[in-house]
């Protein structure tokens, strides 16, 4: 099976027009020494029916959230995704389109990006947002690079309560630029602010904290704001879960200069980690806007004075500025941004709040119950959003594997990141009281 339309006869006709005898002739420009003189060692093609059977059979060996109750989070959250989203982004006009190079025939995509930027700005409290980056981790890395360019500094104070993978990606990105990452340790599940203070000086490019942080805790943002404000050049980067911002005060109010993070929780399916989308927003300052990585859509008018949308401020970008671009970003996560746009529009003012509040209340209900159990202790009982850190005297691996036998994915074994121990439990609005009580019952019985 292939997707070639032309028939043999049509091919012959075309070859004649071109003036060659056979298709192979056109490939004559490839020297023999690099020509492949065998068939590719790839399997035979399949009909659609065989393909579906083949893949379904493989897929069936997965254990999936369809029939397992999940308490896994750690940057990928199992929130409810309204039906209409997939119906809308399945319109071919959206999902098969390219980057809107011809704005006049791409107003759909462009307006969606503009709406996305508007809602991300509102949610974070910031003034300007871009059209998306590749994921939360790389967006964090890009934000750090951006901060370093703006402040012309290389030292980055990064909270150890920032997602371990985000820290790793940030370092991968920062290394070629000789960024100097200072990891601020954690205490009781939050960043040690004394240590932060000790390391602060005017050589610091940025402070990077997560809100809520990797362990689910809400940092002392007010204190961070105070610290930051003592040093004019230091930027504050807040990596925020946008769902939490339905309930929590926007980072802007705590002095954030750049807010970034993972947009998955806004309507994107869990999908084993991708495609997700990184969002990035900053304050309204020319120095900042000129340094934003990635695409930005803006409103303008056409020759008749009618409103329309275009990609704008492109002189930051690689296709114009090449080696002087703010980033190499080209393809981003436009369809995921469209998903998040439709999600935010559907949930709206009330729904964004309700999702956050329900997640909060259910998580706290569960944490309180678990904290009462003898063998378990919640590290951050009070100050978490919808994810919390449980320590236990029992072997974590055994706890989680017994739960799996009961069709429960009980949380993340924190030791997988080789820094701390315990279980990271995440609760979204999808979890029912019955599921929470069941988990408590099982833990109690261990």
């Amino acid at each position: 099976m292939d997707y070639v339309s032309n028939t043999e006869q049509e091919r012959q006709q075309m070859l004649k027009e071109i003036g060659v005898e056979a298709i192979e002739d056109i490939f004559d420009s490839i020297p023999d020494e690099v020509k492949l003189n065998r068939e590719l060692d790839v399997s035979e093609g399949m009909s659609e029916l065989e393909l579906k059977r083949h893949i379904n059979k493989i897929a069936d060996t997965n254990i999936s959230l369809e029939n397992y109750t999940s308490f896994l989070g750690g940057g990928a959250y199992d929130h409810y995704v309204p039906s209409i989203i997939d119906h809308l982004i399945s319109r071919q006009e959206f999902y098969t389109a390219y980057t809107p190079y011809q704005a006049e025939l791409s107003q759909g995509t462009l307006q969606v990006v503009y709406e996305y930027q508007s809602m991300i700005s509102e949610l974070t409290g910031m003034d300007v947002a871009n059209a998306s980056l590749l994921d939360g981790s790389s967006a964090t890395a890009e934000a750090i690079l951006m901060a370093s360019r703006i402040s012309r500094n290389k030292k980055v104070l990064i909270s150890s309560a920032l997602h371990p993978s985000y820290r790793e990606v940030a370092k991968t990105y920062g290394k070629p630029k000789n960024l100097d990452f200072v990891e601020i340790s954690i205490e009781d599940g939050v960043t040690n602010l004394e240590e932060l203070e000790d390391n602060l000086d005017n050589d610091v490019a940025a402070i990077v904290v997560q809100y809520p942080n990797f362990y689910g805790s809400i940092e002392n943002m007010e204190k961070i704001k105070q610290l930051k404000e003592e040093y004019k050049k230091v930027l504050l980067i807040v990596v925020a879960n946008p769902i939490a911002l339905g309930l929590l005060t926007p980072p802007k109010e705590f002095g954030a200069d750049i807010v970034t993070g993972e947009g998955q929780s806004l309507g994107n399916t869990i999908n084993y980690g991708g495609p997700y989308l990184g969002y990035l927003a900053c304050i309204n300052d020319r120095k900042f806007i000129r340094q934003i990585p990635g695409r930005i859509a803006g409103a303008t008018v056409d020759v008749d004075g009618n409103r329309g949308y275009v990609l704008t401020l492109q002189t930051r970008e690689q296709h114009i500025r090449r080696e002087r671009a703010t980033s190499n970003m080209c393809t981003n996560e436009a369809l995921n941004a469209a998903i998040s746009t439709i999600y935010m529009a559907t949930m709206g003012k009330k729904g964004m709040k309700e999702v956050a509040e329900q997640s909060y209340k259910k998580a706290h209900y569960l944490a309180d119950k678990i904290d009462e159990l003898e063998d378990f202790e919640v590290v951050n009982t009070d100050n978490f959003f919808h994810e919390f850190w449980v320590k236990t005297k029992l072997p974590v691996k055994k706890v989680l594997s017994s739960l799996k036998e009961e069709k429960i994915l009980g949380g993340i074994d924190i030791s997988r990141f080789e820094e701390e121990e315990g279980i990271l439990i995440s609760v979204t609005e999808k979890r029912t009281k019955e599921e929470l009580d069941n988990l408590v019952r099982l833990l109690e019985a261990m």
């Binding site: 590719l40 495609p275 056409d302």
Partner: protein, 478 residues
């Protein structure tokens, strides 16, 4: 035709969502959470489900997709996105899995990913692949970090990356992000790498040459082996930008051309949908000696078990929060399994045939700056038309009036008034002819009535948009 903003549909009290009622005992959040952390308000739309559905349906109608017709963007490989792949990427057993489930839980998905990377390695002639990069540019960056790390590991200092003037903007931008200095070299008269200039540019500081082959003019760099030798002789490495792989599948492999590192754009050659600008996937392949430097974790198969290997001390580290754009990878897998080796080769043949047919038909009307054999795409110049005062941009906009998308324009930079045309194999002779005829009509209009072309587009939902104003007075949110 214009569609207002979603916020303008807002009416206080409207709701478009539904959630189960809270089933745990309710609490007052402010009893737990200091009030300074409790958000005071959120100015989001208040709209109904019907409002949302109609609004985004209306917006979709202002767009043009591959199912709308030809999408001849050069370098972008806008081929048909098979519907079956969309179905497969929505199988719940594949999508409803969490990235922190244990490897044991997700052997099915890991099998798919492993088969995919094995196939991609075979198609491109490489020894090992990482699936982590989420776009072409991300792949370039990853590849260049691998090169950097390799030299670091060997204790060799190298600072430069050579990039031809015909290269895509992401090439130099990625190299700079990876900490290199750029040396740009001019193409020769045939649009290929100028060997003499290359030799001049090369020295011991050169870490890599970045090349796409065929290049952005669609022309195969026939001296590729010699080029490789020149670079390898000074201890540099060869990087292959895989954006143009659709031109050579089954005919030639970058690995056999002595490239050491490459990325593949699965959202081009392997038919995954562009989504209006993403998501994509820029999987990176390397030769054996570079394997230790690949991002971690690396997917490994051992005795019919698949697992993520994190224990990779020489790795450049992670470039993605999880494992890459899994949903895109599933689609690419589905595509390769559908086509098989025969279909892949036939794909390339027909992509090349279609492009050459168009070139043969259009070279009478437009200047063809490089006569060389080109493969899956070709570049015309609008300089003849420009003399009549009509720019390539005008021609592009006029195409929209005829309900067809425009080619890539003003790229590559080496061609003045460039129109870079890549039809792909999924177009047939009728859609090609229709596009050819439209360009001929426009060419005639430029003779007879250039104003109509200069003032295009006329039939789109908005007319020519003022980009200067957009940049001068940024209006980036409502």
């Amino acid at each position: 035709m214009a569609e207002k903003l979603i916020i303008d549909y807002s009416s206080s009290g409207r709701k478009g969502y539904s959630l189960p009622p809270l089933d745990v005992p309710d609490i007052n959040i402010e009893d737990n959470l200091e009030s300074k952390y409790v958000r005071k308000d959120l100015n989001f739309p208040e709209v109904s489900e019907v409002d949302v559905v109609r609004h985004y349906t209306a917006l979709s109608e202002l767009n043009y997709g591959v199912d709308s017709g030809i999408y001849p963007l050069g370098s972008c490989t806008m081929k048909y996105n098979p519907k079956r792949n969309e179905d497969i990427a929505r199988i719940e057993k594949l999508t409803q899995i969490h990235p922190y489930q244990s490897d044991d839980d997700v052997q099915g998905s890991l099998q798919i990913l492993h088969e995919l990377k094995t196939d991609l390695a075979e198609i491109s002639g490489m020894d090992e692949m990482t699936l982590q990069p989420a776009s072409g540019a991300h792949g370039e960056f990853t590849g260049l970090l691998i090169i950097r790390k390799y030299f670091e590991d060997k204790g060799i200092e190298k600072t430069k990356v050579i990039v031809p003037d015909s290269a895509h903007g992401t090439n130099p931008a990625s190299a700079v992000m990876a900490g290199f200095d750029i040396v740009e070299i001019d193409s020769n008269e045939q649009g290929m790498v100028d060997l003499e200039k290359l030799k001049e540019a090369v020295d011991d500081d050169v870490a890599a040459l970045m090349l796409t082959n065929p290049n952005t003019l669609g022309i195969f760099e026939k001296d590729i082996k010699e080029i490789a030798d020149i670079i390898h002789d000074v201890g540099g490495l060869l990087y292959y930008d895989g954006a143009n792989l659709n031109a050579v599948m089954g005919y030639a492999r970058p690995g056999d051309m002595d490239f050491d590192v490459l990325h593949l754009n699965l959202h081009k050659t392997f038919s995954t949908p562009h989504g209006g600008g993403g998501p994509g996937s820029g999987t990176v392949g390397v030769k054996e000696f570079l394997k230790p430097y690949l991002p971690r974790p690396l997917l490994v198969k051992e005795e019919d078990k698949y697992y993520w290997d994190y224990d990779r001390p020489k790795s450049i580290g992670k470039v993605h929060g999880f494992y890459g754009n899994y949903g895109v990878l599933i689609r690419a897998y589905s595509y390769i399994k559908t086509l098989g080796y025969k279909g892949l080769k036939k794909t390339t043949e027909n992509a090349v045939l279609n492009a050459n047919y168009m070139k043969a038909k259009l070279k009478e009307d437009f200047v063809l700056p490089y006569e060389e054999n080109s493969l899956h795409e070709f570049v015309l110049s609008g300089i003849k038309q420009k003399e009549k005062g009509v720019s390539t941009l005008n021609i592009a906009k006029r195409l929209l009036d005829y309900g067809q998308y425009a080619p890539t324009i003003y790229f590559p930079l080496v061609v003045k008034e460039a129109m870079m045309i890549e039809p792909t194999e999924t177009e047939n002779i009728e859609t090609l002819n229709k596009f050819i005829d439209t360009l001929k009509i426009i060419s005639k209009e430029i003779e007879d009535n250039p104003e109509i072309v200069k003032n295009a587009p006329h039939n789109t939902s908005v007319r020519k948009l003022d980009e200067a104003k957009a940049a001068r007075e940024p209006d980036l949110k409502w």
